[in-house]
Structures are given as C-alpha cells and as structure tokens.
C-alpha cells in the first residue's frame, strides 16, 4: 500500500460508506416492504421518522460517493511518483489492471444512479405527500449495493497497489498502430478517419443540443423521446471518447502521436473542466429520462415538467443546493 493523505482518505471513505451502505440498504429494503402495509397512525409516524433518518444519512453517503469519483483519480495521480515506470495515471492502473478497470467502469455507473436518485429525492421532497417514497426506498437499496461494491473495490485497490511496482506506461499501449481506437474507425472511414471523427463529433454534439432545445420548447415531453435522447447521448459519449483519443487529445497536448487521456489531464489541466462539463451534460440527459421514468406519480407528476426543464437546462447543481 502507498501511504499518503489521499490513500488514507480513500480507505476511510470506503470503509465508512461500505458500512453505511449495508445499514442503509437493508433498512431501506425493510422500510420499502413495510411502507404499503396497513398500519396504525403511531406505526405510520414511526415508519416515517425512520425513513427520514435513513434518507438523511444516505443522502450524505451518496454525496460523498459522488465526490469519490474525482477523488479516485486524484489519489491514483498521487501514486505516480511511487510506481516505477508510471508517468501518468495509466501507469498506476497497470499495477492492478483488472481491479482498476472494474472500478473505472463501476464508478461512472454508480455516479449516474446516485445522481438520478438524488434528483428523484429532491422532486419528492418538493411534494407534500411524498408519493415517490416507496420507489425511492427500493432504488436506494439497489444503489446501496452498488455503493458497497464500489467502496470495497476502492479499499482493495488502494491496499493492493504496492510501491515501487514496475509497470509500462501509456506510450507502449495507447500509441501502438493497431490500437482498437484507430483500427475500428479506420476500417469504416478509411485512412482519413480522423477528419470524419472530428466532423461526426461536431454533428452529434450539435444534434444533441438541438434535441434538448426541442424538448425544452415542448410543454410535456414524451417518455419515448426522452429515452431516445438518453440512447443518443450514450452514442454521443462513445463518439466523444473516440474522437478525444484519436483527434483532440494529441492536438491539445501538442503531442501528435500520443493518445493517452490521462496524460491529457496531466499536461492540459483545463481539459478536466471540459470533461466535467461533458459528464454532467451527458448524465443530465440520462437523469431527465430516469426522472420521467420513476417520478411520474401522484403529486410529483405535476412538478415533473418543471423539474425536467431544470435538468435539461443543465443545472444539476441547482438540485444539489436544495439537498
């Protein structure tokens, strides 16, 4: 294990959120099952009190897990100097390849579901009768499972990265001629694939902005359209990644043959802001869909159009503020 302030913080957060995720997940599942059963007014009050306590604690845990995603990369960045052969985060990921890859895939998924749940929670809190409470509790128990796996993954990874491990870094993997990010578009578009990727990147981004604009103009957007938009944003995200690796990252770094995104964050730190905005934008589209999917019930249904509007305008932080 590499001991520094960040690794200790990661382990502390991991251990704490794992414990609270077990407690919160089981409690929310129990409450979910009890919620619809007939109960006396005293039992109902006690149930509500317990649910508010669980929600309060779990909201804090989930917000911490949101912050944990960037913290994960900051921690890996802090390990670079202790790993022989690592010149960027890529080198650190090579120490425990499978576990790191698993964490890197799980973290955005967890981030997305936590964001979706928090928006649902804010929508429910704006109502007087909490019509989404049962769904919220059920979804919380699922998200708690994700949080638990993610937290354990963090702990094992941080403990498993041994100092002075010898690794090869990005140059030997991301820059080889037969890398899939090059061969796949090249087989479709030919040798001029970079120009096509650049054009497609611009077209899909403008199309996505256009679609969101159309949704903002309609008073009651249909679920199918929001679902389509969600799928489109996933395709757009894949194209974004591909074009970043092959076209934009080498240009931004002024290193025409180097295609490592971790190096991009290191050499061009302002690209992190761009990535952050892209992630929030893409996830906002998905959050719009999940809010429509789970939030159309009772009193919450009346507040839904306004809520969707706020999500699509790109103000997810306006929701955080309300928590």
């Amino acid at each position: 294990m590499i001991l520094n302030a960040l690794s200790i913080t990661m382990i502390f957060i991991g251990a704490l959120s794992a414990l609270l995720a077990i407690w919160g997940g089981i409690s929310s599942l129990i409450l979910y099952r009890k919620w619809k059963r007939p109960a006396t007014p005293e039992e109902k009050t006690s149930l509500e009190d317990r649910s508010y306590l669980i929600l309060l604690i779990m909201v804090i845990v989930l917000v911490v897990r949101l912050i944990n995603w960037p913290l994960f990369y900051v921690t890996l960045q802090s390990f670079i100097s202790d790993i022989e052969g690592a010149m960027c985060i890529f080198g650190v990921t090579q120490v425990k390849v499978d576990l790191t890859r698993f964490s890197e895939i799980l973290k955005p998924i967890t981030f997305f579901f936590i964001g979706a749940w928090l928006i649902l929670h804010v929508l429910d809190r704006a109502t007087k009768t909490s019509p989404l409470m049962r769904r919220k509790l059920f979804l919380l128990s699922i998200i708690s499972l994700l949080v638990l796996i993610d937290s354990l993954g963090d702990i094992f990874l941080i403990l498993g990265i041994a100092p002075e491990s010898l690794v090869s870094c990005c140059t030997t993997i991301t820059d080889i001629l037969n890398r899939p990010t090059r061969t796949t578009p090249e087989s479709i578009f030919g040798p001029q694939y970079a120009r096509f990727l650049q054009s497609i990147f611009l077209i899909t981004h403008l199309a996505l902005i256009g679609f969101v604009g159309l949704i903002l103009r309609s008073k009651k957007p249909r679920r199918a359209i929001l679902g389509f938009l969600c799928l489109f944003s996933i395709v757009n995200a894949a194209l974004f990644l591909l074009s970043q690796i092959e076209v934009f990252a080498p240009r931004m770094m002024h290193l025409p043959f180097h295609h490592c995104l971790y190096c991009l964050w290191q050499y061009v730190p302002d690209s992190i802001v761009m990535y952050l905005l892209f992630i929030l934008g893409t996830f906002s589209v998905g959050w719009g869909f999940t809010t429509e999917l789970f939030g159309r019930q009772g009193e919450a249904a009346d507040l839904l159009p306004g809520c969707l509007r706020k999500i699509y305008i790109g103000l997810p932080f306006s929701f955080c503020r309300r928590l």
């Binding site: 290193l255 043959f257 103000l315 503020r321």
Partner: protein
C-alpha cells in the same frame, strides 16, 4: 430565480478562471518534455532530431524517438543521441546500439543502450552475456 442566476454567474466565472490558469500552466508544463509522450527527459537517454527547418524535437528514449522517426523521416536533417558512458551528444550514424536486460527509461521499457565506442558496447554485451545483442541502427536516414 435570482439565486439561480447567481449560481450560473459563479459557475461561468469558475470556468473562465480555470481555462485562463489552465492555458498558462499548459505552456509551462510541456516545455523540456518528450515530444512524443510528454514524459520528463533524462538527458543521458535523450534523442534529438534536428529538422530541415531548423527546429529541434527532443525525445526521452530511443523507443519514443523511433516511434516518431517513421512519421518525421522526410523532415529530419540530423539525429543525435547520447553516449551512455560519457554523456556526450553524438551523431546517431556514429553510434552503436545494444539491447540488454537493463531498462533505461522504465515507462516505455526501453532497453536499447547507446555507445560512441565499439569497445564500450562490447563491454556491455559481455557484461550481460546471453541477454544482450546488437540492434540494427534505428535512425537510418
């Protein structure tokens, strides 16, 4: 509503400041680094390309330089490498290249060593006998 505008204004200011400071930092950080992958250059293992227009490209290792060489071949006027025993810059055409189990630049696992004198290269080969051999000149113009 006014509160929302305040948040937006704060956010925009944050983005502008980040972009401004980031652009300045970027220029500083890329200077003196490898022109292939941006890694810090250890002078003893560096490779220098002088292009036809007089500009110079610096690389952290033989591995990075040889990966750039094919793309830049037509523009290159001169390639200089560093003699490992003395640390002197020499013309690549006069150098001897040897591959051994000793890694010089870990992030690319570069095992190619450069020598100005054949005797020094032979000494290295004898030191690591069995795991050491001559390498074809990687920078033939």
């Amino acid at each position: 509503m006014a509160s929302n505008k305040r948040w937006i204004a704060l956010f925009v200011i944050f983005v502008i400041i980040s972009l401004g400071s980031g652009c300045q930092g970027e220029r500083k950080s890329i200077e003196g680094r490898c022109d292939y992958d941006g890694a810090k250059i250890e002078p003893l293992y560096a490779v220098y390309f002088t292009l036809q227009d007089g500009t110079e490209k610096n690389f952290c290792s033989i591995a990075c330089a040889s990966m750039s060489f094919s793309a830049l071949k037509k523009q290159i006027k001169e390639v200089r490498v560093v003699d490992e025993p003395s640390g002197n810059k020499i013309n690549a055409s006069d150098a001897f290249f040897v591959e051994s189990e000793i890694v010089t630049v870990p992030h690319v696992k570069n095992r190619i060593h450069v020598f100005a004198k054949k005797e020094e290269a032979l000494k290295h080969i004898q030191k690591f006998i069995g795991n050491c051999n001559w390498v074809e000149h990687p920078f033939l113009l």
